[in-house]
């Protein structure tokens, strides 16, 4: 996903596309500035200085001692201080104090037993609990489910990976909304599975009726992100239940993957059952993550909820699974010790209180942001998540690049689908971040030129 986005077979990007800056890996052993200058002359552009600036932004960070060469994702390390990150839907409020305390406790554990009275619990130098029993059982208690229906995984990435491995293939297709979260599509392409895209309905909601029509005997996975990324729309659970029921009648072998990465913003239920009750009766896999409202994006923690027979199949495709004994869920653990500790802390009553606060703050900031954007003449789509898809009336990529030059990072709608080419997706940060963003946005006018050009891949399309 970090490669340049020039489609295969195309030697030069068309004018409508980004100039694809060489990805850092291509730059690896050559002097970056020379490479960019060479590229500039190849493309016949005269704005070599602009590209050099872009190179400094995108690839030049590694010139600093010990700095990241990966650019603005680590502004402190590259010395590009003060970048406002509103592009990745991260929570600006961080993890719950209970999660931090749990991590701190994990870091304080002794490494081995030095004396008879050592209070020993396994620390970071020990493999995670192979069966992740404590994590699984905590989640099961939290959601009122059985432990066997829960599979902890290394973020949504692993969840979608194992679904693609288990349920897609050359004769099993993927059905999804056009322009929705693209990671499963990426894995499907790797697996050689055909993909059927269904355009969204009015108001950019997923078109459940059209998707149902498109289900056939070859459908392996029906993918529904609910709430959806990047639109921020959400179907009511009654609609989802009806859809799931109809799909499973039409094709009992199709697995319906419901990606609930943003459900914690969309519901005040405690616990947030969402679509999980469906797993008792339908071939549904509900995906959840701790990367968003729980503020643990860097730790890679998520889980899947599904029926027992499906979890049996999925277990076979976990990154760490090895065949054999039925009780043998995974080998060496894919969710690391620190992530597990943080999750268990986050699921405690204090952690849930913190989540409530985060949700409340997010709602307030969302209302604030919507009001400001409307006043400026932009069109934010109504959202129940921690981001807004905003129609701008101008080229979304241009606006993204322009904001980037002002040290504000947002996503371009075009990186999801051309129908969102005039939109940007803005994460709902905290007060300070949003005010910075709005301040920069006020200076933008149609016809403004961006001094930098960025690639979609640079923003990771998440």
């Amino acid at each position: 996903m970090s490669k340049c986005v020039v489609p295969e077979g195309q030697q030069r990007p068309s004018d409508a596309d980004d100039i694809s800056l060489p990805s850092p890996s291509i730059c690896a052993r050559k002097d970056r500035r020379d490479f960019i200058k060479g590229l500039a002359s190849f493309l016949g552009r005269t704005q070599a200085t602009l590209l050099v600036t872009a190179a400094a932004f995108g690839c030049g960070g590694g010139q600093r001692t010990g700095g990241s060469t990966s650019g603005a994702l680590f502004p402190e390390e590259t010395g590009l201080e003060g970048y406002v990150r509103l592009a990745f839907n991260e929570s600006p409020y961080g993890p719950a104090p209970e999660a931090v305390a749990a991590i701190d406790e994990m870091l304080s554990r002794p490494y081995g037993i030095e004396a008879a009275d050592t209070h020993f619990l396994p620390g970071i130098n020990r493999y995670p609990d192979f069966l992740n029993t404590q994590l699984t059982e905590t989640l099961a208690r939290f959601l009122g489910l059985r432990a066997v229906q829960i599979i902890p995984c290394c973020g949504v990435s692993e969840l979608l990976y194992m679904c693609s491995q288990a349920f897609l293939g050359t004769s099993r297709t993927l059905l999804m909304t056009e322009g929705t979260f693209p990671l499963l599509r990426h894995y499907a392409v790797q697996k050689g599975a055909e993909i059927t895209f269904v355009p969204p309905a009015q108001g950019l909601l997923a078109n459940l009726d059209a998707m149902l029509e498109a289900v056939d005997s070859r459908t392996g996975i029906v993918y529904l992100a609910n709430p959806d990324n990047p639109t921020g729309t959400m179907h009511a659970l009654s609609a989802v239940e009806g859809f799931v029921d109809a799909v499973s009648r039409k094709n009992p072998n199709a697995v319906i993957v419901i990606d609930e990465a943003y459900v914690d913003y969309a519901t005040e239920d405690e616990p947030p059952l969402g679509a999980t009750p469906l797993v008792w009766h339908y071939p549904v896999v509900v995906g959840r993550t701790f990367s968003k409202a729980y503020g643990l994006a860097g730790l890679r923690a998520g889980y899947a909820v599904c029926r027992e027979d499906i979890s049996g199949v999925l277990n076979g495709f976990l990154s760490g699974y090895l065949g054999g004994d039925p009780g043998w869920r995974m080998f060496e653990g894919n969710v690391n010790r620190i992530a597990a500790a943080a999750v268990i802390g986050s699921l405690s009553p204090g952690g849930q209180a913190f989540l409530r606060d985060v949700r409340g703050l997010n709602s307030r900031m969302r209302r604030f942001l919507v009001g400001e954007l409307l006043a400026m003449g932009y069109e934010p789509l109504e959202s129940c998540t921690n981001f807004l898809l905003v129609r701008t009336g101008t080229d979304g990529r241009l606006l993204r690049d322009w904001l980037c030059s002002k040290k504000i990072l947002v996503q371009a709608g075009a990186s999801f689908h051309p129908r969102y080419a005039d939109a940007i997706r803005v994460s709902i940060g905290d007060q300070w971040e949003l005010e910075r963003m709005l301040e920069a946005l006020r200076d933008f006018h149609p016809g403004a030129q961006s001094p930098v050009r960025c690639t979609d891949a640079f923003f990771m399309g998440i």
């Binding site: 970071i124 208690r141 990435s157 405690e270 616990p271 054999g324 990771m460």
Partner: protein, 454 residues
């Protein structure tokens, strides 16, 4: 906003705690059992309840580092934690490319002037790297060649991929049988079914013998000549634990990588660097080999803590390696001494593990008794078909003492000359199995005996 919804009535689940149900029964608003049990947690520390039995179990079983990571690493992790919600905190996504970490890895291996980040692939532990290699290079038409005994997980992954697996036994003195391996490679290539992947441990786990420079060099060159489509995988987990005078004789896979040969060098942060729980490992190989493995990778698996810890570990690598090497050599030597005193056969090892032959006692039985009666957890040799053997990871002095004391005690008590299967079928044996499983002993180690446990 979604209104609350009652879930359909769930089938009764014995796994739900009784406490949870009682709490639900007494809750006025009739909330779900799940909410009831959440409300019943008294404090944060109870969210991570210590299992009284697990306290003070000496873990000498999973090849973990009891001497821990370098202190600067934990400092660094606390710094990351203190960053809170700022740009560098754990609430922020990592860049999947991780170039600076890859460069640091190449610097540590002294090949940063020749190789670049495109020659490195990160994994969620070196296990993921092994799995990616198996996924990329083995299939129904591309077999795996390895030796037996060895570190098993790649065999299991290849079998999962429906790849045929050929295992060449070690020689009677537990060394790699390069002659037989070479003839297998040549034969397969001649038959038109060349091996996709040829797997080795640089220091054999669990035997503790190692690949020697001269002989393995000749073998590898022969493989490249006769079977150019094959990739050789050298898993380098324990070189830092070798006796210093033996290190110089170890084969160096990176020399072949630098030459552009189809060699994949796999290393980990789980052993000498002690970052086992953080899950980070890597492979270094030619660019096209890395690219083929990337296609089987989970997107963005490396976590923020592992990254910070890995960078800090590499910055203090020399000190850490020196300290752990010294501890491990001393620990091994002490154990050899005591094992000789007891009169047990063992394999002198260059790795952080020692295979011990119990002679008349079943290995799995010994492991179970050591676990329950002496709170020492070691590895069952039956995993490698060595039914009367156990494998121990040398530990701290206290752990070693407890292990030897326990070993003496169980050998005195017996039973001897009884297979694990037969023992587990007795009343006493069945009771022991039940107790072990109740106390978290891994079921798969107990084999079929545990399925009779209620």
């Amino acid at each position: 906003m979604q209104k609350g919804r009652k879930p359909p009535v769930a089938p009764p689940d014995p796994a739900l705690s009784r406490r949870g149900f009682l709490k639900a029964a007494t809750t006025v608003s009739g909330l779900l059992p799940a909410v009831g049990s959440v409300l019943s947690w008294p404090s944060r520390s109870a969210a991570f309840p210590p299992d009284p039995f697990f306290e003070n179990v000496a873990r000498m079983v999973y090849h973990e580092n009891p001497w821990g990571p370098h202190p600067a690493v934990v400092e660094e992790l606390r710094t990351v934690l203190d960053k809170g919600a700022s740009s560098g905190g754990i609430n922020r996504f990592q860049d999947p490319a991780q170039e600076d970490l890859k460069r640091a890895i190449l610097r540590y291996n002294r090949v940063d002037d020749i190789l670049g980040p495109e020659h490195v692939i990160l994994g969620v532990g070196s296990s993921e790297v092994l799995f990616m290699a198996a996924d990329a290079f083995t299939s129904a038409t591309r077999p795996l060649l390895t030796e037996w005994i060895t570190y098993r997980i790649i065999i299991q992954r290849a079998e999962q991929n429906k790849a045929p697996v050929v295992k060449v036994p070690l020689t009677p003195d537990w060394q790699t049988d390069l002659v037989r391996l070479e003839s297998e490679v040549v034969a397969a290539s001649t038959n038109g079914t060349p091996y996709g992947l040829i797997h080795f441990n640089l220091v054999n786990n669990p035997a503790g013998t190692f690949l020697r420079k001269d002989s393995f060099e000749a073998f590898a060159r022969s493989v490249y000549r006769h079977s150019p489509a094959s990739v050789i995988l050298c898993d380098d987990s324990d070189r830092e634990f070798m006796e210093p005078d033996k290190r110089g004789a170890l084969f160096e896979p990176l020399r072949h990588v630098v030459e552009g040969l189809p060699m994949l060098h796999v290393q980990t942060f789980s052993h000498v660097f002690g970052l086992t729980g953080l899950r980070i490992g890597y492979g270094i190989a030619r660019k096209d080999i890395i690219e083929r493995m990337e296609a089987h990778k989970i997107y963005a698996g490396t976590n923020a803590m592992a990254r910070a810890a890995a960078l800090a570990s590499l910055a203090h690598a020399d000190e850490q390696v020196q300290r752990c090497n010294k501890e491990c050599c001393a620990s091994r030597a002490w154990l050899y001494d005591r094992l000789r005193a007891i009169g047990l056969e063992y394999l002198p090892s260059q790795g952080h593990y020692i295979l011990i032959n119990l002679g008349t006692m079943d290995g799995t039985l010994a492991v179970l008794l050591l676990y329950l009666a002496h709170k020492v957890f070691v590895r069952w040799g039956s995993e490698w078909g060595l039914d009367s053997w156990i494998r121990v990871n040398p530990g701290t002095p206290y752990e070693n003492e407890r292990f030897i004391a326990g070993l003496r005690a169980i050998l005195d008590r017996g039973p001897h000359r009884m297979s694990w299967r037969d023992y587990a079928a007795t009343t006493e044996g069945a009771r022991l199995v039940q107790a072990a499983v109740r106390h978290g002993f891994p079921r798969h180690a107990l084999g079929p005996a545990c399925h009779s446990v209620a």
